[in-house]
Assembly symmetry: C2
Homo-oligomer: 217 residues x 2
């Protein structure tokens, strides 16, 4: 309340030993690694402290409680998703070739071990913090679909495709690509995919999409 309260003091003049930001990063990295494999309940603060090479007290000096660490680690993992942007937007080659290339990018991204682990975690702790779910949704599937929808709109304007709702068509493409393989990985029916299945699946998807929306239809 009073203007000279210690609580109101500028935080700038730091006295004492400065914090080591590397420890914070190490803690988050360790947490991310463990949470993603063993889940929230399956990961102990002890294990995180040990893996990060810091003491438990240090952990609690940076994060109020386990949930805060969880939130931070998951938030970073979610934002890491959007960074993956391997697929090319517009290039040479037939429409089919370009769609196939994008499909491959989608597919490999979404069936990666990291992405599967994240999906699992998001599915396992749905109501832990809705904000995290939303963050994941927007940084992952939604961002991917939005970008693809713009491509579809361009291709439509260029007369290569016939569609009225690019966003909906992008979603269809996205979920067709996810399809069977992603679900099997997610629930653990299989551990890894055969490259033959991958090719066949991608080809089938592109073929169906073009049959539905291709201008040559």
């Amino acid at each position: 309340m009073n203007s000279r309260s210690p609580l109101m003091r500028r935080p700038h003049p730091p006295r004492g030993r400065p914090r080591d930001p590397d420890k914070r990063l190490a803690a988050i990295a360790a947490a991310k690694q463990l949470f993603v494999v063993d889940g929230l309940r399956g990961t102990s603060m002890d294990a995180i402290a040990k893996l990060a090479g810091v003491s438990k007290v240090t952990l609690y000096s940076y994060f109020a409680d386990k949930d805060a660490l969880f939130r931070e680690a998951l938030s970073q993992a979610c934002q890491g998703l959007a960074a993956e942007d391997a697929y090319v937007l517009n290039g040479p080659g037939t429409l089919r070739a370009r769609l196939t290339q994008i499909a491959e990018g989608f597919f490999d991204l979404i069936t990666s071990a990291d992405a599967i682990s994240l999906y699992r975690l998001m599915a396992a702790n749905p109501r832990r913090h809705r904000k995290l779910s939303l963050l994941f949704w927007e940084a992952g599937p939604e961002a991917t679909m939005q970008r693809f929808a713009r491509l579809l709109a361009e291709a439509t304007a260029a007369g290569e495709l016939r569609l009225t709702d690019p966003r909906a068509a992008a979603a269809q493409f996205f979920f067709l690509i996810k399809g069977e393989q992603h679900l099997k990985l997610l629930i653990g029916v299989v551990d890894k995919l055969a490259s033959k299945e991958r090719r066949a699946h991608i080809d089938r998807t592109v073929t169906m999409f073009l049959r539905a929306y291709g201008a040559a239809s």
Copy 2:
């Protein structure tokens, strides 16, 4: 070691109070109910015993450990999926109307609270027991797709559809229907769906499917 050991005795003459099979069923029902909501780790044996109205000792007399109970409960829940067979196979009306009806059946089944909970559970404990994953896969998605594939084959034979791989087309239909809404429910971005979205989504799916595979194309 000796042939008259009590352990070698024939199990037939049962002494003591006979087991009550109802308690076993009550335990499984309670476990199913709790596991599906709170997950494996989130459910304690105490809570199961309490809900089932049996003592913990009784629980352990029927199931070697928590995992065995989990396995039994999940196995039952998975088999319960296949029983839901609300959608009609062949009826009157246009092909589009029939596909729409089936799509509605798919959609409502897969977005039901029970199904979502099961999906969550299967995603959260992937390598807990691979047999369970396989059971879920075969009783759920695989069975659904197989049945639908037969319908597609019939429609193709009748000249209503043009497709070469009914199983693949069934999978495409299935995952198109799941789509965005199912994922949002699974990760908790939304709690329930707007009926308007449901209709629009189903219509879009059927429309795309017919554009790709309809004979009138």
